[in-house]
Symmetry: C2
């Protein structure tokens, strides 16, 4: 019998909107979005899930959302309960939390043509996104990221995940949202660590792809540190744009093993784990970038001047460039992260290093001794703001 | 800030192979397939998971697989353990079974570039497919279906699922396999119910799309009942071909709410549930087809002669056309299935009915009284072989 060759393409299409005061009834953005979903015979619903860490600073949020839907989106039936979930990495470790979200999908009759609206930081978006992706084989997900990191990076991308028995992101899918709404005003209640944290992802993407964006960040470090919203709005938009362009232009669902956007991430993932997530993702990425830039410099790939500019920008933004856990156990703990990174990516180890500012290049091995020397170098820079 | 419009396509591509004695070292098919995966720097692995219901009739299977890999696929590292899981619907109800498969992925270091090979009936393929799809955001899945139903229908498609707290297929994804291997010799150990069961999916697709295929089935009922392998091989190939064509030609990941391939399925799903899965999926589909054909005839849409031919073919193949659970509680239990079907599809109720043999047409409502009359009609046909 002749072999059947199956072949098809699936198209994805979503907008990342930038706005302020999203749930103000005078803001028509969300209303306009839902007005595209008015077919006869459908009763679409929406279930809203909010990061507790965000909700505590926005005590009126639940009322605002109910009022907005009543006034402007009355054709979509809002589930009566707005569900709060704990924020931060911990929420991805708790299978009962995942189960409770799936249970809510059932309780409120959220079907494949209804919406789940996730409001929160990257961890909550990951958890809710995973629950949405696997319930009924995929409910329409709207992401409303509330941190710099999620607005410029994870929240605009195509992944979700939870941890499994302590293994980070072990369970997850590639599942694009139907829309992302980035509200600048939501960033006002961030503490300085989370305001700064997401900037490292912008530096990352600038370093591997866009010299002029790095120049801009370098020029604007003071404005960013001083919480200038206009500067931050530009930084987030440019970073989100480069992130989405990269996804669309390459291998969206990562069938290959190259992952350029993971520049600086192999050490970052390990450091987050080694510190029990006390060092947050963006902070760990800053250290990971610093480490891999020192490494690239030590093997003669990255010029002294470029290295100096990179470390200077990270330092002036307030990032630590070293953490004692990097050195612990004669750096063996850190170096184990390299193999774990390979296992998670699958296939061959592929690490992005810099050739110069604005241009990355992939390598397939790192030397353990030079990693150790790079850690020592960072320790010597004494750029540690608060341990 | 300007809205970012993200848009991309993801391409999927897999072969459905037809063979005999797949794990005989003289059969190069599997070897040829894996020879496409020989890149430098990769150490791909394979984890094999087998349906116990199949394994009990193929006691040498584990040895055969180990021998085949040792002789012909030595560049892929076979996990030392071949895992058996219980077959049938029960395996999709047990979260611990899902967890144990994810645990095995971790234990044996199965990464995104390695393979999970699922051997079994539709329920096992669903469970293993789901575990593969969400582990590391998707491990390459090879399906080796061992029933008529899975070789001609579910096993060649793009879905997977498990049940959640008794809700059928509540959790799942759309995740195409990297290959499907249909081995005709694996069907020899099926009992008559499972040999017959999958034929109802072939009748389904013939009725809505291909008159000449229905004619062929009608002509070959005796050969099929007599377990003629050549006839069955043709039936499976043609049904699988129509199934994969339908997926590629339409809406592979079902973003819309039309599901023509669910012809006969609304009542089938409910009947499976009402009988605690004592009535198997293919058997339930045969009754569901009969019910919807009688309905279409009663509303003047399907000619008497066509209805008669359809019921005759189903009856001659040995399918029951009625089950007492259809009538229970004054048919209210059955009719509830209609709303559950709508909720599962999401959006608007869409039911495929026949206009004539070879041509389906979608409707958006069914009349409760006419459903009841159709059930009574089926009860009156007395085509009940064994209750």
């Amino acid at each position: 019998m002749q072999t059947i060759q199956q072949r098809f393409k699936v198209e994805y299409n979503y907008a990342v909107f930038f706005t302020e005061n999203l749930f103000d009834t005078k803001n028509p953005l969300l209303q306009d979005f839902f007005n595209e979903y008015t077919e006869q015979g459908f009763q679409r619903k929406a279930l809203v899930i909010v990061d507790e860490g965000f909700a505590q600073y926005h005590s009126d949020l639940s009322n605002q959302i109910h009022s907005y839907f009543a006034a402007s989106v009355s054709h979509i039936q809002l589930a009566p309960e707005i569900i709060n979930v704990p924020g931060g990495e911990a929420c991805k470790n708790d299978p009962a939390l995942f189960d409770s979200l799936v249970e809510a999908v059932d309780t409120y009759g959220i079907d494949r043509h209804s919406f789940i609206i996730a409001i929160g930081g990257g961890a909550v978006l990951d958890l809710v996104g995973y629950a949405a992706a696997v319930s009924h084989r995929g409910i329409k997900l709207i992401r409303i990221p509330t941190t710099v990191l999620s607005q410029n990076d994870s929240g605009v991308g195509v992944k979700n995940s939870i941890n499994f028995r302590g293994k980070k992101n072990f369970l997850g899918t590639f599942a694009p949202p139907v829309a992302v709404f980035n509200d600048l005003t939501f960033l006002r209640t961030l503490d300085d660590r989370d305001w700064r944290g997401g900037v490292s992802e912008a530096i990352k993407v600038a370093l591997i792809k866009d010299t002029s964006f790095f120049d801009w960040i370098e020029t604007n470090t003071t404005a960013i540190v001083n919480r200038d919203e206009k500067a931050m709005a530009y930084l987030i938009h440019r970073c989100a744009e480069m992130h989405t362009d990269h996804i669309a232009g390459g291998d969206p669902f990562e069938f290959g093993s190259s992952r350029p956007l993971d520049f600086g991430h192999w050490a970052a993932h390990k450091l987050e784990f080694l510190t029990g997530f006390q060092v947050r993702h963006g902070e760990a990425v800053a250290i990971g970038i610093a480490l891999d830039c020192v490494y690239a410099n030590k093997i003669g790939q990255l010029a002294d001047e470029d290295l100096s500019r990179i470390l200077d920008v990270l330092g002036r933004l307030g990032f630590d460039l070293f953490h004692p856990k990097l050195s612990e156990n004669d750096k063996i703990n850190l170096r184990n992260g390299l193999n774990e990174f390979r296992e998670h990516l699958g296939g061959r180890l592929t690490i992005m290093l810099l050739e110069k500012i604005g241009k990355g290049i992939e390598v397939h091995e790192l030397d353990a001794d030079i990693i150790a020397q790079s850690v020592d170098y960072l320790e010597g820079t004494k750029i540690i703001h608060a341990l």
